[in-house]
Symmetry: C2
Amino acid sequence: MVSKNLIHEGSPVCQTCAQKNSSVFCKAKVEYLSEITGQKVSNTFKKGQTIFNEGSYPFGVFCINSGKVKLTHLGDDGKEQIIRLLKGGDIIGYRALLSGERYSATAVALEDTHICFIPKELFIHILKNDAALTFEMMKLLADELHKTELKMTHLAQKPVRERLAEILLFIEETYGFEEDGITLNVRLSREEIANLVGTATESTIRLLSEFKRDNMVELDGKKIKIINQKKLAKTANLQD
Amino acid sequence: MVSKNLIHEGSPVCQTCAQKNSSVFCKAKVEYLSEITGQKVSNTFKKGQTIFNEGSYPFGVFCINSGKVKLTHLGDDGKEQIIRLLKGGDIIGYRALLSGERYSATAVALEDTHICFIPKELFIHILKNDAALTFEMMKLLADELHKTELKMTHLAQKPVRERLAEILLFIEETYGFEEDGITLNVRLSREEIANLVGTATESTIRLLSEFKRDNMVELDGKKIKIINQKKLAKTANLQD
DNA sequence: GTATAAACATGACAAAAATCATGGCTGTGT
DNA sequence: ACACAGCCATGATTTTTGTCATGTTTATAC
């Protein structure tokens, strides 16, 4: 494993980064990759730590090397809404940077997470000179927009039960399973799941119990096992 | 009025288009503007006509010259969700084109609308060669993503009453008022408003009546007059 | 102008979901 | 091991919202 000692040195090299081929940066010209390697700062965030905060100014973008991150909005009544779940290879903080605004969301590590920070100037400089990378970034934004529009429609039209089923499948799609092949590979509190679904925590707890009763999932503390994916997908009532 | 005869010729010239300074294309290099002028197709859509349909393949982007357009998703149960309202200067159909997918939404003219069509090849060719324009497109996407994330959070957390108030203010922000300074400058059915808010048509009708009772709006058929904007904003309970 | 359909409006009711209350469980630090 | 806090669970209740039914008004076509 090349990445092992690199990570422990605190400063992995982009050209050999484990995420090189899943990140947008894999599309950057090689010359820029070494520039990034030279200027980036590598960091570790412990579970629960905040990477950046809604309302503050962005100084660059973050590229997740390993770990899991949630991106949240604070609603007008102070309730948290999780708008995205992220993992190794994903970049965060670019939205506000491109719009030239403050962060509109807060990023928090869901588990110990390694992240590289790329300064704003370098990021913008590369974008302005690397058309292919800019094009990829544009695509990434277009995809994100599409996903968000879908989520919006589902929030507006689907009952909580369907949305919860959908979110469980979405978590699976994002983080996959543990070695046993059925346990969702992330630990989220009931409240966090509720904040993904857009509902009250109690409703989430109640529905999870129902899903368990209906043999779609098994619950063991924060561990959630998907034991009947097909039925769950049917419950989610998905078409698209 | 330069634009008047241009429009009636059926083929306005981008360099003198009334929307030149509000569209992203105003950032395109002059040389590309004339290329667009040469290749675009100008068209008129009557009220209610479909500009493109969810599920079909994009062959280019549309640039709205004048008029009003709604972009809608079909939910899994066949219910329409309006995801964006557009006007002169806005471009549509770029999202699917950039992602290389079929349209994920349907565009329908809300009133007689003039639109220029720019072929895919030209659009992509220009993007690949005009870094400044690409950068602007990226910003546009970033802004759209932000707006959509906000809408998502509000759909998840706010009650219907607040969302309706918010939507009325949003319509005002988008299309403004008629000459009288209080009548919203667009005619939407109650059902369409409901599909913006994400609620049942009857709920929308009921709440509009309440807003009228509470002296926030006046109703006259499809005409909606905002007579107490401050109170409406308070009802919307906005912070951001 | 008149017929016809579509849109608007309102009441009654049912369903969905949030809130409140309470108790048990689990993990963490001492 | 123990106390404590935070999380999980569940029941009871209220509020919100959707659905169904029905009548009225408005727009549109002939």
